[in-house]
């Protein structure tokens, strides 16, 4: 119940934040612009639109997740609003989870809006060529769904950094770094496979499984080229995301619980 109160309040805070609208505006602008760019190419207009559209949803989603995510706790500490909240009868972990859910709500709404934006642009494109709206590739929703799960993971990571780092910019750098590395984990694993030393191999493997495998969530290319994304893959990746988020939140909770708010 208290978790929900915090979540709703966090959602309220986010939707009264100007950053959110600016980012959303630019994302929709980019998706809209793809319609213009598509007219420049010969054939495969929908490919260009999907490329640009999914990329925009992903990039702006990550920006929203990182910039609102790192502020989630550190802003409460910086602005000292946390003193009063934690003086109320609420365990700290509930506050943390409430904040997380609140931001997820914000991100889910945003991603949905951007997704609908992309769908509309694709539908307009089909109509322009005299096709039926039904021609719009339904797999874009699978890609958007996995983007959303990825954003959930990124948000959890941002939240974790903001529970112990006192500087927002430092948390932002950490999160962005982990986001980039999270997309290169495949390479880390392959390097591990090629190594001769068993200990070194073990270390690399450990790092590989510790890092978030964000590449799991990237099916943008498969959607564009019409390669099938199986329901088993979708559910496996969803499970992976949820397990990873649980771990990150547990760690954040443990850090947060022990912390002094000077």
């Amino acid at each position: 119940m208290r978790i929900l109160v915090i979540a709703i309040n966090t959602f309220k805070e986010a939707i009264r934040d100007k950053i959110l609208y600016n980012l959303l505006f630019f994302a929709l602008l980019m998706i809209g612009t793809s319609l213009l760019l598509a007219t420049l190419t010969v054939g495969e207009q929908s490919k260009i639109i999907i490329d640009i559209g999914l990329a925009s949803i992903n990039i702006f989603g990550v920006l929203i997740a990182i910039f609102l995510g790192i502020g989630l706790i550190s802003k409460e500490i910086e602005k000292r609003t946390i003193y009063n909240i934690l003086s109320k009868p609420m365990p700290r972990y509930q506050f943390l989870i409430g904040k997380y859910i609140g931001l997820l709500l914000t991100i889910a709404v945003n991603t949905t809006i951007m997704g609908i934006g992309l769908y509309i642009v694709l539908a307009i494109n089909e109509l322009q060529w005299g096709h039926s709206i039904l021609n719009v590739n339904p797999d874009i929703w699978k890609a958007i769904y996995l983007i959303l799960i990825e954003l959930m993971v990124v948000t959890a990571i941002a939240l974790m950094f903001s529970t112990f780092s006192s500087s927002s910019s430092l948390s932002a750098i950490f999160t962005i770094a982990l986001y980039i590395i999270g997309h290169l984990t495949e390479d880390i694993r392959l390097i591990g496979e090629k190594l001769q030393s068993v200990t070194l191999k073990g270390v690399i493997n450990l790092i590989y499984y510790l890092l978030p495998n964000l590449d799991n969530f990237n099916v943008k290319g498969r959607v564009v080229y019409g390669i099938e994304i199986s329901p088993i893959y979708l559910s496996l990746v969803t499970l992976y995301g949820l397990f990873y988020i649980s771990i990150v939140l547990l760690l954040s909770g443990m850090i947060f619980q022990k912390r002094d708010f000077k």
Partner: protein, 311 residues
């Protein structure tokens, strides 16, 4: 005998500062008892450890050593917090909320039911005089208004113990008086109030007992009149509806006069001038709001105290 509301036993806090973990003792072996129905003033200069103590009582930081009980329960018990009202130092709240939303938010954290909450919000807004600002966002509030809405949120759960951290700092004399009145009213309702301050007159006027904290150690506890013997520096009279001629006259006599809103504060440097000035105000049909003797500042007082202790 009144039951004990706050009890601390050798409460100690050591902070580690910086990367090297330099140890700084913020509070050393605090032993304190606050009884039910008391107004307890926690007096000390900035950095003496007042806020550290309060944060430990509230659960924002953890004691390095020692124990404390609130309302009979040991620190760390979430149940305690249901019966405490807390106002942080220089309160920072979600400024995008309106007064009503703000109180509703905290009420919900205590699990108050919708109807009960609505009624409670109305009562509290009236009590702190913010009825007209019910739908105003907190970011548009003045310092005094913020302090008052802060007290309102501290009271939302009908607390038995109210802890206020520097409730009067940064307020003008009129704002201070309002807070003082509020504290006295809460005492009448049977609440226990524990508040910290670094301003001596605040303590003198409302507290039943005072504890003086210096450099992390409790140096003295007792009735304000017993332990505070600071010299009067000047007397401040606050009046309303005053005749302008009297003000001009007062200025001519070397009094400091400043007007805020409809009220005027006049500072008399000498006690002996008080009768004369009051006479003049009455003859000019001015309404006297308050007469407050201003003593030396705490720093000056403490300087004197430490001087005494050394000698």
């Amino acid at each position: 005998m009144h039951p004990t509301v706050i009890k601390t036993e050798n409460l100690t806090k050591v902070f580690k500062i910086g990367f090297r973990g330099r140890r700084v003792t913020a509070l050393r072996n605090l032993n304190l008892e606050v009884k039910e129905g008391e107004i307890f003033g926690f007096l000390g200069p900035n950095g003496a450890g007042k806020t550290t103590t309060i944060k430990m009582l509230i659960g924002l930081i953890y004691p390095t050593n020692g124990k404390a009980w609130i309302l009979g329960r040991e620190l760390g018990d979430v149940e305690i917090k249901k019966r405490i009202g807390f106002l942080p130092e220089q309160p920072y709240f979600y400024d995008y909320l309106s007064s009503k939303e703000f109180l509703k938010f905290y009420g919900q954290l205590f699990g108050l039911e919708r109807d009960e909450l609505k009624e409670r919000i109305d009562t509290l807004l009236t009590m702190v005089g913010l009825k007209d600002a019910a739908d105003l966002q907190l970011r548009k509030f003045s310092k005094g208004m913020l302090q008052r809405i802060g007290i309102a949120q501290a009271l939302i759960n009908h607390p038995d113990l109210i802890i206020l951290d520097e409730p009067m700092s940064g307020l003008d004399p009129i704002g201070r008086k309002e807070i003082r009145d509020l504290i006295l009213r809460l005492k009448e309702e049977g609440k226990t109030i524990f508040f910290s301050t670094h301003i001596i007159p605040d303590v003198e006027m409302v507290c039943d007992r005072v504890g003086i904290l210096m450099k992390g150690e409790l140096v003295n506890v007792g009735k304000p009149t017993e332990i505070i013997d600071a010299k009067i520096k000047y007397i401040e009279i606050i009046v309303s509806d005053i005749n302008q001629e009297i003000l001009i006259h007062g200025k001519a006599m070397g009094f400091t006069i400043c007007e805020t809103g409809g009220q005027v504060s006049i500072k008399l440097p000498d006690e002996n001038q008080l009768d004369f000035m009051l006479e003049m105000i009455r003859s000019g049909k001015g309404r006297i709001v308050s007469v407050v003797p201003q003593r030396e500042t705490l720093e000056e007082f403490f300087l004197k105290k430490t001087g005494e202790r050394i000698s």
